[in-house]
């Protein structure tokens, strides 16, 4: 399988994310998707990583004051990291549950804030860790292994 080819180069991509800059969040996911396609990675892997990046970047744009998205690719896995300086998550387990959201009405009217972001990230990650401190920020790390079995 091309996805587990040991010749996959190591690359790191970084994108700043500013509060309410929703288009950039989508844009960064699109750019990473294109690069992963150029690397010849499997379609399912790319689809999953793109969802993770979009949702994670969107979370920063919605809830963080500003932050950074970092994507690292090596022969083993794709590592997605977002770090923000924002409100933080009081109860991570609750935030992980489908349908839970603290987004404002304005955000919801745009079709965000359905409480599907973190659950979507979890569903598409092989490993996920979320660390958060109230009024300091949130650090999210998601890993997709290149040899992982396709998600349902």
């Amino acid at each position: 399988m091309a996805a587990s080819d040991a010749s996959t180069p190591q690359i790191t991509l970084e994108f700043p994310i500013e509060e309410k800059d929703f288009f950039m969040a989508g844009e960064s996911a699109s750019r990473v998707k294109k690069i992963l396609q150029q690397l010849g990675l499997g379609q399912d892997i790319i689809r999953r990583v793109a969802i993770i990046i979009y949702e994670a970047a969107m979370n920063v744009a919605i809830h963080g004051s500003h932050g950074q998205l970092e994507v690292h690719v090596d022969p083993v896995a794709i590592y997605v990291k977002t770090a923000d300086e924002g409100a933080g998550i009081p109860d991570i387990e609750l935030a992980m549950s489908e349908g839970f959201s603290t987004a404002s009405d304005e955000i919801r009217e745009m079709g965000f804030g359905a409480g599907m972001g973190l659950p979507n990230i979890k569903k598409n990650s092989d490993d996920l860790s979320v660390e958060s401190k109230i009024n300091e920020g949130t650090l999210l790390r998601a890993t997709v292994y290149l040899n992982s079995v396709p998600s349902p």
Binding site: G26, K33, E55, G111, M116
Partner: protein, 110 residues
Amino acid sequence: MTLAELIGNIRCEAITGDINMDREIRTGYTSDLLSDAIANIEEDSVWITMQRHINILGVAKLKDVVAIVIPRSLQVEQSVIDKAREEGIAILRGPQTAFEISALIYNALR
């Protein structure tokens, strides 16, 4: 079925002009929740949504949708149309409801 053929089939207008007309459409998805759309839009889809803000273009680009379809002849801001053209994303608009448009496209693709 190509986008041009679909447009001929369902009585709607391409408000972004001549974009993606030769692209094949295989299926479609109807949703106004962006997370739902991101998770579930399949390859070579049209996406039917009431959302008309600039962020739909981020979703459409990421999922490589053939066209966004706006129901009930709803207004789309010129800035969104311009950005869509720039990004190569087609936007269609029809007088029908989202329900009717979904049914028309579903039947046209069968």
